[in-house]
């Protein structure tokens, strides 16, 4: 008897709570996403209507904002998109190359300093960027690299994004060692094993690294703000910031339009690579 009341009770309470949960969730989704939808819609409204209309159905639609925004900074926005793309792709290549080499050595090769190196690498994850940036700036300035992309790209080729080393080390450790041993018996050396055995199996970790490296460098604001002062070298975030600084001339509409353009690559990753993004956060805590 006790059991039957229990099950009936949980059943009806179950459906009720399921509906309640959907309502709570839907309200939250709306609250979270509304600002984004509003920005999207507003980017197609004439600037003077944006703040007076808070709904999602504009009375007037125009593409003017996109046209104006594209040329608002003297150089076409295409240039900034291209610059950002160049740095994004370069950073991805750098991280894939340097972090996978490092991770393989730390996860698989036996040598005395291995544990120490791994511990050092993990410690650098916690290091606030600001402690390093002043001497880095001085160094790169001495080398004449201000207003070049070297300060933004070179560190990526030197395995300085320790999170990805950590991600890859974890991944390699989960691969059965028997694979290496079989290859070793066939006469493969460490380089061969890395290239032909480990690297192909690491594909999911490499994809996660690619996605997050790209998104982070695409969003990166501090680096370009420091190292790039000439407009034609600007990446998208600093270009957007200078649109804000000329706000009175450009108007809200153009800022919204260009902001949305800047988010397109991230949204594409979000739509097509979500599985990897979710897994990446759940396994390493990267954002």
């Amino acid at each position: 008897m006790a059991a039957s009341t229990l099950s009936r009770g949980t059943l009806s309470r179950g459906t009720l709570s399921r509906v309640a949960r959907h309502v709570v969730l839907a309200v939250f989704v709306l609250l979270m996403i509304y600002p984004l939808l509003w920005m999207l819609v507003s980017s197609f409204k004439p600037s003077n209507l944006i703040l007076s209309q808070t709904g999602l159905f504009p009375s007037e639609i125009t593409l003017e904002n996109y046209g104006d925004g594209w040329d608002a900074l003297g150089s076409p926005f295409t240039l900034f998109l291209g610059n950002s793309l160049l740095i994004g792709v370069g950073s991805v290549i750098g991280n894939l190359f340097s972090c996978s080499l490092t991770a393989y050595a730390l996860a698989r090769l036996n040598f005395r300093a291995g544990k120490l190196y791994l511990a050092l690498t993990l410690m650098t994850i916690m290091l606030p960027f600001h402690v390093l940036v002043i001497p880095q700036y001085i160094l790169f300035a001495e080398l004449g690299w201000i207003n070049t992309y070297v300060p933004l790209l070179l560190p990526k080729f030197l395995a300085t994004d320790a999170v990805f080393i950590f991600l890859m080390v974890q991944f390699i450790r989960a691969l059965p060692r028997e694979l290496d041993q079989a290859a070793m018996i066939d006469g493969a050396g460490p380089f061969r094993i890395f290239w032909s055995v480990i690297l192909p199996l690491m594909q999911p970790a490499l994809i996660t690294t690619t996605i997050f490296t790209f998104i982070w460098t695409w969003n990166d604001y501090f680096g370009p703000l420091l190292y790039l002062t000439r407009t034609e070298l600007y990446t998208v975030p600093v270009a957007l910031k200078s649109l804000v600084d000329t706000e009175t001339q450009s108007g809200i509409g153009t800022m919204f339009a260009m902001s949305l353009v800047s988010l397109v690559p991230i949204l594409l990753f979000f739509i097509f690579a979500q599985r990897y993004i979710i897994k990446g956060i759940a396994t390493t805590g990267i954002k």
Binding site: S52, I138, A282
Partner: protein
């Protein structure tokens, strides 16, 4: 907390010896030739070593030295002992930056984790549409660090922005949030809370690790929902709560982009959004007061390290790591 992907994790568990890689058998196993892997390893590690020395450790030491100097990039650094730290103690803007950053960390991180945990629990357990909701909640985390969203925020909290429009329905009339020293920081707190999706995803992964049998057993014992949440979910989730706390705290201490864009680089009005990192930037790269900025950066490093260590010590009292 598993740190490997689910499918490989399962495969490894089946293969004895590979899982921990700790047991002595696993280490000694590869026969001859492995002693000499030091050389090979260092070839693999060449980029890492250059980076470690040139981009990480070198600058770290250099900034520790610069902290005791007066340096403006033009003339050579002058050793001035502890003067930078003494100046800091009497610098009102420094204390404003400390206050702003502490309020930001102490308010936005608990709120963010609270929302993350709440929604993770609501989402857990086979609710239809889970992945759709999860995506919607996660999207802001991907976008939150961008200049584009900071621009959006300036408009939402502006004088005629969305927020004031909604408040108007309730008869609340406010000016621009960004120009009001008592409100400006809260817009950035809201922005950080808005990105609760990434800790939520980590919570969801953690919730999935809690064995279903525990809930079933407690239901048979007559435990209600609240009781189950308090006695099973929370204790078993404490390691994940701790992980999220550390991660979000460290990143909140270092927030920069949003404050720089929202306040137009000034940290205003009246230094009410002068984040610590923003003040470092102003001293170092606007005033070229690089010794002082280095000293400030080191204080930040030490504060973050102390806060993390304190968390680890306190965690022994509340984080539950299975039966001991």
């Amino acid at each position: 907390m598993t740190l490997t992907s689910k499918d490989t994790g399962r495969r490894v568990r089946g293969a004895p010896g590979a899982a921990g890689s700790k047991p002595p058998g696993g280490r000694a196993k590869p026969s001859g030739g492995t002693r000499g892997q030091g050389l090979v390893a260092h070839i693999f590690l060449l980029p890492w070593m250059i980076g470690m020395i040139g981009v990480t450790a070198g600058p770290l030491i250099a900034s520790a030295v610069l902290a005791f100097t007066d340096y403006d990039l033009l003339s050579p650094p002058q050793f001035i002992g502890l003067d930078n730290f003494v100046r800091m103690a009497g610098d009102e803007r420094f204390w404003a930056a400390v206050r702003v950053t502490l309020v930001y960390v102490l308010v936005s991180v608990p709120l963010q984790l609270g929302f993350a945990l709440f929604l993770a629990v609501v989402l857990d357990k086979g609710l239809r549409g889970l992945s759709l909701y999860r995506s919607a909640f996660y999207l802001p985390s991907l976008l939150g660090g961008s200049v584009a969203i900071a621009i959006l925020w300036r408009q939402i909290f502006g004088e005629n922005g969305l927020v004031n429009h909604v408040l108007g329905w309730f008869g609340i009339e406010l000016g621009s949030w960004l120009q009001d020293p008592s409100l400006a920081l809260s817009t950035l707190v809201v922005l950080n809370v808005w990105t609760f999706g990434s800790p939520m995803v980590i919570f969801l992964a953690g919730l999935r690790q809690i064995p279903e049998e525990l809930y079933e057993a407690s239901m048979i014992d007559g435990a209600g929902r609240v009781r189950r949440f308090v006695s099973i979910t929370i204790p078993l989730l404490t390691p994940i709560i701790f992980l999220n706390l550390i991660l979000q705290m460290i990143s909140a201490f270092q927030a920069f982009t949003q404050a720089h864009v929202v306040s137009g680089g000034s940290g205003g009005p009246l230094d009410s959004t002068l984040f610590y990192t923003l003040y470092i930037y102003q001293r170092g790269f606007v005033n070229f007061d690089m010794g002082y900025a280095s000293a400030m950066a080191w204080v930040l490093l030490l504060v973050i390290a102390a806060a993390t260590a304190a968390n680890f010590i306190v965690s022994r009292r509340w984080v539950y790591y299975g039966d001991e």
